[in-house]
Amino acid sequence: MKITINGQEKELTDQVSLQEIIRQFYQNPKHAIAEVNGSIVKSINWQETDIQEGDIVELVSFVGGG
């Protein structure tokens, strides 16, 4: 199954939840904010959000800025 995370195509073997995706790609999940196909997904809903073929996932976090 192909999905896009932060603009990069990724091949996944199994059906996974958003929670697992975030754990896999980011060591600091408590500071991550997630969007799937342009809609924000609240962290309390990550576990129950299944990622589907073709989904576009954006994971963002805070950085230094003026």
Binding site: I5, Q8, N28, L59, V60, S61, F62, G65
Partner: protein, 261 residues
């Protein structure tokens, strides 16, 4: 004399602030230096930005270095129009660190000047959604009035170009905003030295925001402390109602009773 009693604290949104010095967190050489600088600055508000997580390498999160009692003001840097700024603000709020947003809409990569029209549009929508909106703007009176009507919690006119250290190039126009706009006026961008921060405060700005001049100094914590003193000095001078400049001399010593006639 208790000099603190001379001043009324700054209020933005529903928060009463004792420090009138806001700090940007970009460009620091390392996060430990940022932590020391926040402490030395005495600031109560720091700006942060939102970016895509780098999937290839692990980076420590900046939030680990910012004390929890400091207000996080997320900027919408990277936004080229109102819609993009709104998206960034909504994402930031989802992180659960409050609803303070600095609207920053920039379409020009050379001068990084803010787009006032798009900023007004974003301010209107986000303030209705309950955000504390602090718009970064070009100091134009009509735009500032529109931002007031749009529900902004303050206005943040640029002193000069972002990161330029040119100081208060827009001084005369900021003065007009200070005089005419009832919201707090926070001078943002271009302040390159404590003397320039003091000057902004002396002319009646309510606060200043500094990033580049501090983060790129050899000793950021030291200069942050210098800035915090300058901001306080400028504020006290403003409250003291400084006398105006004169064309000719006026003796400081009495002009009678000289020893030599």
């Amino acid at each position: 004399m208790n000099i603190n009693k001379q001043d009324t604290p700054l209020k933005i949104g529903d928060r009463v602030l004792t420090s009138r010095f806001f700090l940007g967190t970009g460009k620091f050489k390392n996060k430990e230096e940022l932590r020391e600088t926040i402490q030395a600055s005495g600031t109560e508000i720091v700006t942060v930005a939102l970016r895509r997580i780098d999937l290839e390498r692990h980076e420590e999160n900046i939030l680990e270095y910012i004390p929890e009692d400091i207000i996080l003001l997320t900027n919408t840097s990277g936004a080229r129009n109102a819609q993009e700024a709104i998206r960034i603000a909504r994402l930031a709020r989802e992180a659960g660190h409050g609803n303070w947003v600095k609207i920053e809409v920039i379409n020009d990569s050379k001068y990084l000047l803010p787009d006032n029209t798009e900023t007004i549009k974003a301010t209107e929508i986000l303030s209705k959604e309950g955000f504390i909106v602090m718009p970064y703007m070009h100091p134009d009176l009509y735009a500032a009035r529109a931002l007031v009507d749009a529900g902004a919690s303050c206005v943040m006119p640029l002193g000069s170009l972002i990161g330029s250290n040119q100081g208060l190039k827009a001084k005369e126009f900021i003065k007009i905003l200070i005089k005419e706009i009832d919201l707090p006026v926070v001078v943002d961008a271009g302040i390159g030295a404590p003397s320039q921060a003091a000057e902004a405060m002396e002319m009646g700005a309510d606060a200043v925001l500094v990033n580049t001049a501090i983060a790129t100094a050899d000793q950021p914590a030291l200069v942050a402390h210098a800035f915090s003193l300058a901001v306080k000095a400028g504020r006290l001078a403003y409250l003291s109602n400084l006398p105006t400049e004169k064309e000719s001399a006026e003796a400081s010593s009495p002009l009678t009773g000289f020893l030599y006639k």
